[in-house]
C-alpha cells in the first residue's frame, strides 16, 4: 500500500493559490450578480406589474428545480449559439449568478414579507416616495431577518463553484484535477483541496459574523 505523501504537492503551491483565488473571485462575482437579482427580483415580485411577476416566478422555479450543472452547460454551450461568446470563467460566473439569484429572490422576498404593512404606511405618512420607503424603511430590517439564510446560501454557492470545473473553468477543483493527473496522488490532492474549501468557508463565516455585527446594530425587543 502506498503511504501518504504530500511532499510532491508543494511544487504546485502556485497553482493551488491561483485556483483558490479564482474560486474566491467566481464566488464573489456570482454572489454580487445573485444578490442584485435577489433584491430587485424580490421587490418586483411584490410590487411589479403582473407580467414581470410571472417572469420572475418562472425564473425562480426553473432554476431551483433543475440541476445547476445543466444550467452551467446551457450558459456555456447553448448561449454562444445565439451569438453570446464567452470564456468558461465568465460563463460559470453568469450561470452561478443566475443560480444564486433565484435562491436570493426567495430569501429576500421572505424578508420583505416579514415587515408589517404598518411600517410602509408610516413611511408613506411622512411623505416618503415608494422607493424611499423600500430602501430606508423596509429593506434594512428585511435583510437582517434573512441574513442567516443568506449566509448559508452563500456557503452553498462557494462550494458549488466546484461545478465550474466541468466546463474547465479555472478554479480550485479544476486545479485539483490538473495536479492529480500530474502526480497521481488523488487522495492527497483532494484532501488538500477539501481543506482549502473548509478554510474558506470558515473565514467567510467569521467575516459574515463580523459584518452582521456591524451592519445590524439596532437592538430588538423580544
Amino acid at each position: 500500500m502506498q503511504t501518504l505523501n504530500f511532499q510532491q504537492l508543494l511544487r504546485y503551491q502556485d497553482q493551488l493559490i491561483d485556483g483558490t483565488l479564482h474560486t474566491l473571485l467566481l464566488t464573489l462575482v456570482a454572489a454580487l450578480i445573485g444578490t442584485a437579482i435577489g433584491v430587485a427580483g424580490a421587490a418586483a415580485v411584490r410590487g411589479g406589474p403582473r407580467p414581470v411577476r410571472w417572469a420572475i416566478r418562472g425564473y425562480v422555479e426553473l432554476i431551483r428545480n433543475t440541476p445547476s450543472l445543466i444550467q452551467l452547460f446551457v450558459v456555456f454551450f447553448v448561449l454562444p449559439g445565439f451569438g453570446l461568446r464567452m470564456g468558461a470563467f465568465e460563463a460559470a460566473a453568469i450561470a452561478l449568478g443566475l443560480y444564486f439569484g433565484a435562491y436570493c429572490t426567495e430569501i429576500v422576498r421572505a424578508g420583505l414579507d416579514a415587515i408589517p404593512g404598518s411600517q410602509v404606511e408610516a413611511g408613506q405618512c411622512l411623505g416618503l416616495t415608494r422607493w424611499q420607503v423600500f430602501r430606508h424603511v423596509v429593506l434594512p430590517p428585511a435583510l437582517r431577518s434573512v441574513y442567516p439564510a443568506f449566509t448559508s446560501q452563500f456557503v452553498l454557492l462557494l462550494l458549488g463553484t466546484s461545478l465550474a470545473s466541468q466546463i474547465s473553468a479555472e478554479e480550485l477543483f479544476h486545479t485539483g484535477g490538473f495536479i492529480e493527473t500530474r502526480t497521481y496522488r488523488s487522495f492527497e490532492v483532494y484532501a488538500v483541496i477539501c481543506g482549502i474549501y473548509f478554510a474558506l468557508v470558515m473565514i467567510f463565516k467569521l467575516l459574515f459574523a463580523a459584518v452582521g455585527h456591524l451592519a445590524f446594530r439596532w437592538p430588538v425587543r423580544r
Binding site: 411623505g127 424603511v137 434594512p140 425587543r221
Partner: protein, 242 residues
C-alpha cells in the same frame, strides 16, 4: 373657511358600508375628539382624512383642496397632515434622531446638523431630548409614542390626527402621552383624535363627535354633549364608558 371640510363621505369595504354619509367640519385650532363604539368607523374616517383610504362618495377638503388618494402632490399633503397610530410604528432600525430626521433630510433637503437641531427641538416638546440617540426597542411604550408624535411634529404639520394613541400603553404610561397632547393643544395645533380617554375628551376637546354605525350621531362642545346627550345611543355609550 374650515380647515377640514368633510361632506357626506361614504366608504365601503367590499359589501360592508363603513361610513354612511359622514359630514364634519374642523376649524383651525380646534381639538376634535371622535368617540364611539368599536367598529363605528372612527379609524376609517381618520384614514380617509389623510388619504390612506379611498372614499367612495362625498368629498373631503383640506384648506379647500380636495383630498384623494390620487391627488396631485399627495406626498406634500401628507407632510402637512400628520398621523399618529396606536402601535407607534417607529422604525426599529433607526435611532430616535434618524426616525425624526429621515423624511426632512431626504425630502426637505436639510443638512445633517440642522436635522439634529430639529430633532432636539421636537424632542424637547415631548420631553425626551435625552433619548435622541436611543433605539425604539430601548424605550418604554409611552416614550415610543412621544417619539412618534415628535417625528410628526418635525414635518411641521398644520393638522394632526391621532388614532387611539394611548390604547396600547400600560395605564401608568397613558398620562405622559396625554400631557404632550394637551401641551400641543394649548399651543394651537389643530388636532383630530380618536380616543377612549373620556377625561381627556371632556377637558381638552373643543368639540366631541360621537360616531355610531358609520354616521356622526351627535356632535357638540363637551360640556353640552356629556351633560345632555340627546340620543339613547350616546346616553348608553357614556354610561358604559364611565
Amino acid at each position: 373657511m374650515a380647515l377640514v371640510d368633510i361632506k357626506n363621505v361614504t366608504k365601503s369595504y367590499g359589501s360592508i358600508e363603513v361610513l354612511k354619509g359622514v359630514s364634519l367640519s374642523i376649524d383651525e385650532g380646534e381639538i376634535v375628539t371622535i368617540i364611539g363604539k368599536s367598529g363605528s368607523g372612527k379609524s376609517t374616517l381618520l384614514r380617509c382624512i389623510n388619504a390612506l383610504e379611498r372614499i367612495d362618495g362625498g368629498e373631503i377638503t383640506v384648506e379647500g383642496q380636495p383630498v384623494r388618494t390620487d391627488m396631485p402632490n399627495l406626498r406634500g399633503f401628507r407632510q402637512r397632515v400628520g398621523i399618529v397610530f396606536q402601535a407607534f410604528n417607529l422604525f426599529p432600525h433607526m435611532t430616535v434622531e434618524r426616525n425624526i430626521t429621515l423624511a426632512p433630510i431626504l425630502n426637505k433637503r436639510i443638512a445633517k446638523a440642522e436635522g439634529r437641531a430639529l430633532a432636539l427641538d421636537v424632542l424637547a416638546r415631548v420631553g425626551l431630548a435625552d433619548k435622541i440617540d436611543a433605539y425604539p426597542a430601548q424605550l418604554s411604550g409611552g416614550q415610543q409614542q412621544r417619539v412618534a408624535i415628535a417625528r410628526c411634529l418635525a414635518m411641521g404639520p398644520q393638522l394632526m390626527l391621532f388614532d387611539e394613541v394611548t390604547s396600547a400603553l400600560d395605564p401608568e404610561l397613558v398620562g405622559e402621552v396625554l400631557k404632550v397632547m394637551e401641551d400641543m393643544a394649548r399651543q394651537g395645533m389643530t388636532m383630530v383624535l380618536v380616543t377612549h380617554e373620556m377625561g381627556f375628551a371632556r377637558n381638552v376637546a373643543s368639540k366631541i363627535v360621537f360616531m355610531h354605525q358609520g354616521r356622526v350621531w351627535e356632535e357638540g362642545p363637551p360640556a353640552d354633549l356629556f351633560a345632555n346627550p340627546r340620543t339613547p345611543e350616546l346616553r348608553s355609550f357614556i354610561a358604559s364608558a364611565r
